[in-house]
Amino acid sequence: MHTVVQAVILGVLTGGVYALMSSGLTLVFGIMRVINVAQGAMVILAAYLSSLMFSRIGLDPFLSIFLLVPAMFVVGVAAQLLFIRSLRGDHSVEMSLLVTWALALGVEGLLSVGFSTTDRTTLTSYADKSWSLAGYQFSVPRVIGFGVSILILVLLFALLRYTKFGRSIRAVVQNVAAARLLGVDPARVSAIGFGIGVSTAAAAGAVYGVIYPFNPGSHYDLISRLLSIIVLGGLGSVGGAIIAALLLGITESVVSVEVSPTWAALAFFIVLIAVLIVRPQGFFGLRERTL
């Protein structure tokens, strides 16, 4: 029992970080029907940048988020303007999948030239510390990472709910034509929305770099999880993505301890397949017509 509870704790802490990464991904889909396959690569890019700032100028990875978020926001907006906006035709949705995949490859290629392909870790002074509470271990970087992720998610929610821009985003998510009639410019919302999506990857990347070792190819592993999370949660639903991310964290961690680490990753895919058989639109997704 003790090991299961410990595994659930670990799973929730991990799930929080995945929730942050996938919230941006699913939000972008909601706004412009684009799946950013490069989200994983952006996380890894941010992890490298934060690790670089830590080793060069000693900036704490969690503090580097303040620099990374605006910087990566600009990268996101630029990527949207350069690569996504110019897609035309009936199948621009699927095309965006391929274009962002190419983007992910490009980022991977640049990272492996600029850095190296061996694993890298951001070794902070608290990397190995943990707190003990009622006999359970709470790893310090994971707890901070979880806290930071939740904080940013709350900010994101506040942005969506209480600001004018947030309202225009939600308007576009619900109905593009109606939003346009109300004076919202979907093109502008799309560019900024994509920037926000990449920003969440930036923040999550700084956290990721503290908790896990990473290399330029790590993004494949990440994106396969993120995509499963947003499909399970229902495409476009930020709340669904958060629940699915926690479910992923807990499933992997418990299976890893109780069965074998070898089958942990697969366990979540099995959950995903089971859900899709019963409910193809995921937890909170709208029943999709041909988009």
Partner: protein
Amino acid sequence: MQRRIRLGALAVTASIVVCAALASTVAAKTDGHASKAASSVVIGISLSLSGDFSDEGKAAKRGYQLWQAEVNAHGGLLGRKVQLKIVDDTSSPTQVVTNYENLITRDKVDLVLGPFSTLLTAPAATIAHRYGYAFIEPAGGGPSVFAAKLNNVFFAQPAPAIKNADVLANYILSLPKSERPKTAAYPMLDDPFAAPPIQRLQKRLEQAGIKTVYSATYPSELTDWSPIVAKVVAAKPDLIAAGTQNVDGYAIAKGLIQLHYNPKFLYIENGANDPLDFPTKIGRNETSGIMSSGDWFPAEKSNGNAAFIKAYVKAYGGSGQQIDTTSAEAYSCGQILQAAVAQAHTLDNATLIKTLHAHTYRTVNGTLSWDKYGSPKGETILVQWVGGKLVPVYPSKVALHKPILKPAWK
């Protein structure tokens, strides 16, 4: 009418350009062949200069190039300068096949040397074999390379990967029974280099009566090793022999430090043998007593090692401690080839293969000889961290220090 004329003009211009281009390539080609016959020996090598293995690929490239400079400074091969034709295989087996086909049948290189990693060496060796080329290779030590039973393969390390941990078994079984561990735990990474040597070790130690209290593999995507370390510690083993690559090796050491568990023997297959990264990852004063396996060390008194390190530091800066072993392994490949050519007095590959099988070669990587399928006959060296330094401790003929018992964590 005018439009048609313009089209015609375009077609003529285009065909002229194409013909010119073809002619120039043909000319370039004949030039190449002519100059090659006159002076240099061309050696074809495919390396992973992009993709997953690019770090090691680049390290191998440095080793090969240093050897090239060395051999050319001493008159080359049979009095002809050595020219390396290095091409990128993008860490892909499909491209490695294409590259060796191109090197051998298109560019008609005189000799070839091997790529990085077993995964790419296996298909590449088959092609070299098909065309009768000797295949001295720095990094393909996995079982699949030797299982193909090719007579042209020569692996330039002291022992095949599967025997990586044999030296630990030899050491432990050399101890009197009372000093041997009673129980052992074997956490292993699911990787062709990490797990099989440890499984072999486990079998031998079990036969000697050492009880296995934990043995399990974990996947390469794993990012959190704490549950595994916790399970190992719960089994209270005297010996922990971890089959690892680098990152998981560091993580297991760190996990044990965090839980303050002190086994009598702690062996970490890879990662702990990295003189540069290991102490920075876990703290230099925590390294004491940790064991590992290795094939090359900066301090080694092997043939040409001092010159190799000097040349490396001169070309790339840093110190001997910063040299990737892959560079030394690639350099050894060159040394072996150089010695074999000198013995055979020819570049003929069939003769070279015979020569290589008949002799023993002294390289920076130790003294090497092979069985008929290219598996080296030597053994790896047991190394241990003593006083913050990585030193060879077993077998005694190469040891610079006696093995120590692992002290408690600081």
